[in-house]
């Protein structure tokens, strides 16, 4: 069964359409890559899925349940969590406190939340930073913190918005290993990524957006050999 079904989702801002009639499904346990040129509507689609914008048309079904009219906090509680393209650390709180905020989604006890948070910090390799202020971390570690924080909400589906943006190759490799490890935990992921090589390497399936519409969908091999995709990428760059 599909964990996420996106059914004919459209989003208009004023008269402009940011997404039009996008449909696809994500199966349990897979990594779905979401690619497309700048302004293709990838982040808008994330926002529609996670409740930040209500879709103008269409519906998002998560785990058999329509997300229609649900606020982001509800969406998170149901098990769908997202990261932000531009990282959003809770700057004046410590690293472990940041992750605890995520964990508190599942427990009322600070003690349990702290244990859960330390566990997630180990997963992303930030346990040595737990007492530092989040606002003081370098970008590579902020991205990891972002992942640890959403992992602490115990999601079934994780939406990662360019978690490798602005990182050097070594840091990116760290994140790639992290994504694969998360897959190993049985958590489904949808990943927006600019770097084609990376997305081909980690994705089980890929959806290509262009000007808000779904241009293609398939396995990485199918996508690279799809003439429309090649044209869109060559045409736009």
């Amino acid at each position: 069964m599909a964990i996420l079904e996106i059914k004919h989702v459209s989003k208009f801002f004023g008269g402009l359409s940011a997404n039009s009639d996008v449909s696809f499904e994500i199966q349990h346990g897979m990594i779905m890559g979401l690619i497309g040129p700048n302004g293709a509507g990838k982040t808008t689609l994330f926002n529609c899925i996670t409740g930040y914008y209500p879709p103008s048309k269409g519906d998002v079904v998560f785990d058999g349940r329509s997300m229609h009219g649900l606020q982001p906090d509800k969406v998170c509680k149901l098990g769908m969590a997202r990261t932000w393209q531009k990282v959003r650390p809770l700057a004046k709180m410590s690293v472990v406190d940041n992750v605890m905020v995520g964990a508190l989604c599942r427990t009322g006890s600070l003690k349990i939340a702290r244990d859960m948070a330390m566990e997630q910090l180990k997963v992303v390799g930030l346990e040595h930073r737990s007492g530092f202020l989040a606002g003081g971390l370098p970008i590579g570690e902020r991205k990891k913190l972002e992942v640890a924080r959403v992992l602490a909400t115990q999601p079934k589906l994780l939406l990662l918005d360019e978690v490798m943006g602005g990182l050097n190759p070594a840091e990116s490799e760290d994140i790639i290993q992290l994504i694969l490890a998360i897959k190993g935990l049985g958590i489904t992921q949808m990943v927006i990524e600019h770097d084609m090589k990376t997305i081909m390497r980690i994705s089980d399936r890929i959806v290509v957006l262009n000007s808000g519409e779904k241009l293609a969908e398939g396995s990485p091999q199918e996508i690279v050999s799809n003439p429309d995709v090649v044209a869109a990428y060559l045409g736009s760059e």
Binding site: Q71, D97, V101, S109, G131, F132
Partner: protein, 357 residues
């Protein structure tokens, strides 16, 4: 990168003993000090701490800068006074009604203003408080309008026939203030060490991120506002009964709202003791100006001659301008110590420590 000290849920032995000692001394204070002016200053400091700490829950921890907090102060003050003066309900019962009234207003304001963010929230909070002020001014038959309400008599507090106090001295107000202070500090401390406190701070740091981590913004902001409003009303009620007179231009004024914010800003927002420091700095300073202590001491010490132009200027005008100190302080604090006196002192201490090492 600044390493943060380990997040302590327990309290160390030394601070606990110091704290306890301070509390004991404060409870004994009226037994040894009979000077009514000293008691008066202490009561004013207590009221300031209560209103500052209450605002701190919403502004300091949750990051929602209400500049209309006089609304809750005024609700407490008016409810308690109207019940006492017009319905013969004693203030120790009226205070509870004041809390309920503040809560109701908070829920209404919250449902309107929390749909707005940042500067729009600030403006909306001011507008609502102004609506309350103008209403209190105009609803003459229940609030006495601009004339205000003057206490004629406070009923004596008796428990089971035994007279506890007849409110003839300042001492009962002192203890009421002290208990309220301990209450708000306790609430703040409990909050800091609870899920609620974590959620409030997450909202302050980044609303969208908080939202995506399963935090309902509307719910938790309203919880913060309600808590803050109810505690602010305590300060209002105590003030009203203590001073014995209220009118819209003192308990529902924009100046008061600003004063409440300044107590926190000057001390340092989002910390337990920030408002305490703020009140300790502000109240004596502004009292010294109000009672013209500064002008008099300048004249008495012979620096300024009483009959000179500057001397008469000091005696006549300086006492009117006690709010000036708020203005000067806030400008200095924002420009030079944006983390408040407490944060400034900490940073200074940290620098010293580094130099030593």
């Amino acid at each position: 990168m600044k390493p943060l000290f380990k997040n302590t849920t327990g309290i160390g032995a030394l601070p606990a003993i110091t704290g306890l000692l301070v509390v004991v001394l404060l409870f004994l204070f009226p037994r040894f000090v009979e000077n009514t002016y000293a008691l008066h200053i202490m009561i004013l400091i207590f009221i300031s701490i209560v209103m500052g700490s209450s605002w701190n829950l919403l502004g300091g921890y949750t990051g929602q800068y209400s500049v209309g907090h006089c609304a809750y102060f005024g609700m407490g003050a008016y409810t308690t006074m109207m019940l006492m003066q017009f319905r013969q309900i004693p203030p120790w019962l009226g205070i509870w009604c004041g809390m309920v009234a503040a809560l109701v207003v908070a829920l209404i304001i919250g449902s309107i203003c929390f749909r707005l963010r940042g500067p729009y929230f600030v403006l909306a909070s001011i507008a609502v408080a102004e609506i309350l002020r103008v209403s209190a001014l105009n609803l003459k038959n229940i609030t006495n309008g601009a004339e205000g309400i003057l206490t004629t008599e406070i009923p004596p507090l008796k428990i089971g026939g035994a007279l506890i106090t007849d409110f003839s001295s300042k001492v009962p107000f002192y203890y009421a203030g002290l208990v309220f202070v301990l209450l708000v500090i306790l609430v703040t401390w409990l909050l800091q060490n609870s899920k609620l406190g974590y959620y409030f701070q997450a909202i302050r740091e980044d609303q969208d991120a908080a939202h995506s981590l399963g935090i309902s913004l509307t719910f938790y902001k309203n919880v913060a506002l309600s808590l803050s409003a109810v505690l602010t009303s305590l300060a209002g009620s105590l003030y009203a009964v203590y001073v014995g007179f209220i009118d819209p231009s003192t308990v529902l004024a924009l100046d008061l709202s600003v004063q409440i914010v300044l107590i926190c800003i000057i001390g340092g927002i989002g910390t337990i003791f920030g408002p305490v420091i703020g009140a300790l700095v502000l109240v004596p300073l502004s009292e010294a100006l109000r009672s013209n202590m500064i002008g008099e001491s300048l004249i008495n010490s012979g620096i300024v001659k009483a009959d000179s132009a500057f001397g008469s200027f000091l005696t006549e005008n300086l006492s009117h301008a006690h709010v000036l100190i708020y203005g000067v302080l806030v400008v200095v604090v924002i420009l030079f110590m944006p983390d408040g006196v407490l944060g400034f002192a900490k940073a200074l201490a940290a620098r010293k420590r580094k130099e030593v090492v």
